[in-house]
């Protein structure tokens, strides 16, 4: 099967299905039902069910520059001391993420705090 070549902006309708690119979700700020800021999308987790890669949750964080670098790489002792407070990360189930306006994602429930891994 050849790679199909199709076009589309960040969110598009392809053969009746809505599509969105992960790299456009990253960094988007998520707000809760009251409009309060929760965090920015930092990671998208998928699980393999059979032959499908099903998206199950997103991880939210402050999305700040330094924090992104530290969260992405493994713990760096020197920088680790800084911003302990801001390293709260949240996990939100995909089904609880409202993407009806993809530029302004909404959390339908309170996200759970992610333990620092």
């Amino acid at each position: 099967m050849m790679a199909s070549v199709t076009s589309g902006p960040a969110l598009s309708r392809e053969g009746g299905n809505l599509e969105i690119n992960v790299e456009h979700l990253v960094g988007r700020r998520v707000r809760d039902a009251q409009g309060e800021k929760v965090g920015r999308i930092e990671e998208v987790i998928a699980e393999i069910h059979g032959t499908d890669w099903v998206v199950v949750e997103v991880h939210l964080g402050r999305g700040a520059l330094l924090e992104r670098l530290v969260a992405i790489s493994t713990l760096v002792p020197i920088i680790g001391r800084l911003g302990k407070r801001s390293r709260k990360r949240y996990s939100l189930a995909w089904s609880q993420l409202d993407l009806s306006d993809p530029e302004r994602p909404r959390a339908l429930v309170r996200p759970t705090v992610l333990e620092r891994s």
Binding site: M1, A3, S4, T6, S7, G8, E19, A46, I48, W53
Partner: protein, 120 residues
């Protein structure tokens, strides 16, 4: 249940094809949204996808330029996720890159410029 971190372990990671050559980096990942679920459909590769990440206008500009390069182009290259497997930190493509448009620019440059220079 294998959990995959799409941003950390798939996006921007290296794709290696069946012949062992570099098939580019995963420049984008396409999700298909169905009601409240989503599945990963494709990985996207190429300058259009990259340009879009920086700025949408830039992406359109690159797409127009790319369209001039030949038939059926002007759109991001998509590979179905079923052809991709994790081989941390890289990704294995069970296709040969040459059978896809991934190497189109490489081939074009090779033909038009490199081959014209004596002794290549």
């Amino acid at each position: 249940m294998t959990r995959i971190r799409l941003v950390r372990d798939v996006l921007d990671n290296q794709l290696i094809d069946t012949t062992g050559q570099n098939a580019g980096k995963v420049d984008g990942i396409v999700l298909e949204l169905r009601d409240s679920t989503a599945i990963v459909r494709f990985v996207e590769i190429g300058p259009i996808t990259l340009a879009r990440r920086l700025h949408r206008r830039l992406g359109e500009w690159v797409a127009r330029f790319d369209a001039r390069l030949g038939q059926g182009r002007g759109a991001p290259i998509r590979i179905p996720i079923s052809r991709v497997s994790l081989d941390s930190p890289s990704l294995r493509l069970d296709l040969s890159a040459d059978s896809t448009p991934i190497m189109a620019l490489e081939r074009w440059l090779r033909r038009k410029i490199v081959r014209r220079i004596p002794g290549s």
